[in-house]
Symmetry: C2
DNA sequence: TGGTCTTGTCACCGAACGGTTACATTTCGA
DNA sequence: TCGAAATGTAACCGTTCGGTGACAAGACCA
């Protein structure tokens, strides 16, 4: 499943927690956080800390994969072709 | 690539940013954050906000995928078999 | 050498964090 | 229907966040 927003993440966590038969207290304890935090994250809190989130996902037996989109458009890159060329040049020079 | 820690994430972001030929200021501006924040995240800051991180990844043309590990052991679940059964029962009852 | 670009660090600030505790609400089985 | 369990809120608190602006160190090229 693709995670695009904090809301996506919260929904996934809630679903997965339920699937494992845990209540919020269980998960909080096993992930080393508080129930309050679990509640907020499941509701899609965008300012939750990435560290706690990673610990929580691990507790849930879930893994995060990151990958470059095949669907072009980096959502902000202006000149993909030129940029790529520059990068290659830069990258080659970076490692002496 | 699997993301297990904030350090993993920071390394990936830095690498991807470089590959796109952006400097930290470029990325900060396009992702709507500050250069200071980019520096910290690339260094593996575990308390960075998930919302900003998601925006940054989007800017980099990268997507996050989440999935249940096939490698058993939920890192905390005590009785997998029983738990699964209870879940199935609960799940079935959830949708009337 | 000098100048530019990039990155890392610092101090400052208001805002929000996450933990704790307690109480209200909802859910659901006996 | 009743009562316990699960979930959602609230207030309080010390800590840390992220943004700003400025400066230093390092790399690089003209």
């Amino acid at each position: 499943m693709k995670i695009r927003t904090a809301t996506d993440l919260g929904a996934f966590i809630r679903e997965r927690r339920a699937k494992l038969g845990m209540d919020q207290s269980d998960l909080a304890e096993k992930a080393g956080t508080s129930r309050k935090w679990i509640v907020e994250v499941e509701q899609g809190k965008p300012r939750a800390e990435i560290g706690l989130i990673l610990r929580t996902l691990k507790t849930l037996g879930v893994s995060l994969d990151i990958a470059v989109d095949r669907t072009r458009k980096t959502s902000a890159a202006s000149e993909p072709r030129n940029v790529d060329i520059n990068n290659i040049l830069n990258s080659l020079k970076k490692r002496p």
